[in-house]
Symmetry: C2
Subunit: 140 residues, 2 copies
């Protein structure tokens, strides 16, 4: 397998609310909900960096498509890391997320690894870590 | 927030076993476990496409770091999409994953959206969809 990830799909409870959160609240670009002509086809794509796509898909549809059990939600399965160029930018995005309806689980603070970061959960509990790492240049 | 994802961190139960799965079984490049000089610092990084990093981090450490509850594992939280250029490549990678110890939840087959894909779960239940999409060119 080539070291390549093309799509990250997050299972969500309410596609409409999640689009609002990521598009209107967080400012991510999307054409909105597509695929509604198919049963369990409704999905939202955000075009992120370097051809990577962030997709939102109902958890029920994902479980059905992948043939796995639905189960209760679990907050410690993954974290999406978004790196920025300064501590101030971390604070700005954490504030933006909180206003958009995210749950701040760990407000931004200095980390043992030399950087500064905070965690929030989106409407479905998916973790994002907004981080500044002095050893890591960020291309805007 | 800029539309950018730098890191995808997967919570795992056994870092050593998961390194073996992704490095030796799936062939992803890594320097192995690093950060062991710090409490809860042990982590594994795989350099994927376009500066994206796939990280493995113990679920217990992720929950502690992000200040969320650990909870039982849940298989329908996310799916990582890996696109390839042909149906044959999908089959090859699905076979590779099964040999490496993955659980095939949905063997590869034609999909309603016009492509061909299969799903497997890694050692911790995280879903990967290996897919060929005739409308999507893949850069190797």
């Amino acid at each position: 397998m080539k070291p390549r990830i093309n799509v990250i799909t997050l299972g969500v409870g309410d596609l409409g609310k999640s689009v609002n959160f990521y598009r209107d609240g967080m400012g991510l670009p999307t054409q909105g909900i597509t695929g509604t002509q198919f049963e369990d086809g409704a999905v939202v794509f955000f075009h992120m960096n370097d051809n990577l796509i962030l997709a939102l898909y109902p958890r029920t549809a994902l479980a059905k498509d992948a043939k796995v059990s639905l189960g209760p939600r679990s907050p410690a399965e993954l974290s999406i890391g978004h790196l920025v160029g300064s501590k101030g930018e971390v604070d700005t995005i954490m504030n933006q997320a909180e206003k958009a309806g995210a749950t701040i689980t760990d407000p931004a603070h200095d980390r043992f690894w030399g950087g500064y970061s905070g965690y929030f959960q989106d409407l479905d509990g998916h973790l994002w870590e907004i981080a500044w790492n002095p050893q890591w240049d960020v291309e805007d």
